[in-house]
């Protein structure tokens, strides 16, 4: 299995699926980091640098989309979902325009740049826009197929990509279905529901639990909105305890989305793993450990959730 940063996958997918003349890619002076420069090299006539002006970029994307174009707008997650939130909300989400936001450098895995650049709120922000689809892919193939799915979906899509190289979770025959969770491992005592780079940790945690005689189901939720209610409800009913894991603030992200489904359909204990404060500078592995984004913490929280079962 290989190791790839999903931002690299994003750039490659833009080239792979970007032969459609209708696709335009925008960036805000970060094309070398967001990897939209991969697209720019092949299709320079359909790449537009908007400079360091994310608010304007989102609205330019909207304007292009009104004419029928499929527009990708890229910058770091912090400056897309964060800085340009209201532009996305009012000029992309409200008129339901065909703009795909390719947000890279999400989460604390940004590492050394520190809290100002470690966006931990984007899933919550984007999830709150009624017309927005939110995708957080776990690995290379999933990220590439997410781009394809975003092109095929008519309407606004937010895609969350990472800076850090992550191990493959899915095999080469992987099929991506928008809005459908993926059960990676069956289990009956507890369910680990993870997204993005935490899926790999979820699989490791399941192995660790297995060694202790605990049967853990593992579900990868790549599409946080619309969320796969069926797979979550089934897991709640069949395993009676859930732990969620995401590289995002504990409020408003995957954990919140899962509890919304569980509370409505099949109440059971849900432990949420995510960050509970601003990030900081450090190496990604050190940060994961300090913020509890590890297989070890998933194991601990899984046991806590199981202990709460009636």
């Amino acid at each position: 299995m290989g190791k790839t940063a999903t931002r690299i996958s994003y750039g490659n997918a833009l080239v792979k699926y970007g032969d459609n003349e209708n696709i335009v890619v925008l960036d805000a002076d970060l094309s070398k980091s967001t990897k939209t420069d991969t697209f720019k090299k092949v299709y320079p006539e359909r790449f537009i640098n908007c400079g360091i002006a994310e608010s304007n970029m989102m609205c330019v994307a909207a304007g292009l989309a009104t004419t029928g174009k499929t527009v990708f707008a890229s910058t770091f997650a912090m400056f897309a979902a964060g800085r340009a939130f209201e532009q996305i909300r009012n000029s992309i989400g409200y008129p339901e325009l065909n703009v795909k936001i390719g947000a890279t450098h999400a989460g604390i895995s940004v590492g050394e740049d520190g809290a100002s650049h470690q966006c931990l709120e984007d899933i919550a922000l984007m999830r709150s826009i009624p017309t927005m689809v939110v995708i957080n892919p776990a690995d290379d193939i999933e990220a590439q197929l997410a781009v394809k799915a975003a092109i095929d979906h008519k309407g606004p899509v937010y895609m969350r990509f990472g800076r850090l190289a992550v191990e493959d979770v899915n095999g080469p025959d992987y099929k991506f279905e928008l809005g459908k969770g993926v059960q990676l491992k069956d289990g009956s005592d507890v369910t680990i529901i993870a997204t993005g780079l935490m899926v790999q940790e979820g699989l490791k945690a399941a192995e660790m639990l297995e060694a202790e005689g605990i049967s853990a189901r593992v579900i990868n939720i790549h599409t946080i909105k619309p969320i796969d209610e069926e797979i979550i409800t089934k897991a709640a009913k069949e395993t009676g305890a859930i732990v969620t894991a995401e590289e995002h603030y504990i409020m408003g992200g995957l954990g919140s989305a899962v509890t919304e489904v569980v509370c409505a359909n099949a109440p059971c204990p849900v432990k949420i793993i995510g960050t509970d404060r601003y990030g900081k500078s450090g190496k990604p592995a050190e940060l994961f450990k300090e913020y509890g984004l590890t297989a070890e913490n998933i194991v601990a929280k899984a046991k806590e959730a199981m202990a709460l079962k009636k």
Partner: protein, 282 residues
């Protein structure tokens, strides 16, 4: 443009003003002042300048218009209704539940609206994106947008002010409704955006100053914008907030408040008198 056509357009513009006031009066909310100041340029655009067809509002080759100062939707709705996009009677439902005529323009739901606006500073960026699309597709449609002078206080306006000249969007013309007033009063006292013309010049725009209530002057400005190659054009329109309703003119209090019955009747009577006066000139 000949003098006769200018009079005809002035008559239509005053009908547009009546529609706008009727909408705001019925809703007992909305923005009359800035609606009245842009009625003339909207009429000129939709009745004389833009290549649009109310029967084919989605034509991909049409000219586009974005009302960046979206709160003056009553004037735009009045213009679109007068032009035949939807029935004039529908304006009576402005801002009411069940009506498609939302408080601010909305795409996909109102015939003739090219973009949802209302949050200041965004519409002009969207319009820039439309102008860029025309360039990418090698189409010759043109894009127009109206901004408020208070709106220039939004930083995003200046992001687009950099963008349009950078990409040589000479198919893009913006109008600054320079009536000098914003909600809290005189624009130079609230947060001074002047000198407006020099700012746009410095950002690389072709800048034209025109009287917002003189059709021939505005028409000539638009013709000059079309002739200008390699640069977008900013027409700084010197306008009167509340234009043609005596008690609303140059009064910031009418930015966002609705007339009562007596005021509404007086406003309509004044506009009817203006229309009669203009018709007598034909």
């Amino acid at each position: 443009m000949d003098a006769k056509r200018a009079i005809e357009l002035a008559i239509i513009a005053n009908k547009v003003r009546k529609h706008a006031l009727t909408g705001v009066y019925n809703a007992q909310s909305g923005h009359p002042g800035g609606s009245l100041s842009i009625a003339d340029v909207l009429t000129l655009l939709y009745f004389e300048v833009m290549n649009v067809d109310p029967k084919d509002p989605q034509n991909p080759d049409r000219d586009r218009f974005v009302l960046s100062k979206g709160h003056t939707a009553p004037a735009l709705y009045g213009t679109l209704a007068e032009r035949g996009y939807f029935p004039v009677e529908d304006i009576a439902g402005l801002r009411s539940i069940g009506s498609y005529l939302q408080g601010h323009p909305v795409l996909n739901k109102i015939p003739g609206i090219d973009m949802s606006t209302g949050s200041l500073g965004q519409g002009v960026s969207v319009a820039g994106g439309m102008a860029l699309a025309a360039k990418l597709d090698k189409k010759d449609y043109r894009v127009y947008s109206i901004l408020g002078d208070g709106e220039l206080e939004e930083g995003q306006v200046w992001e687009q002010a950099m963008f349009a000249p950078h990409y040589k969007l000479d198919n893009f013309t913006i109008f600054v409704d320079n009536n000098g007033l914003q909600i809290d009063g005189d624009i130079t006292k609230v947060m001074n955006p002047t000198p407006i013309d020099e700012k746009f010049k410095a950002f690389g725009w072709n800048v034209i100053i025109a009287d917002a209530h003189n059709f021939e002057e505005l028409y000539n400005a638009i013709e000059a914008a079309k002739a200008c190659k390699g640069k977008p054009t900013a027409v700084i329109m010197k306008s009167v907030k509340g234009k043609n309703v005596s008690f609303m003119e140059n009064n910031a209090a009418w930015h966002g408040s609705a007339p009562n019955e007596e005021q509404y009747n007086q406003a309509i009577a004044e506009l009817d008198a203006k229309i009669a006066e203009l018709e007598a000139m034909l």
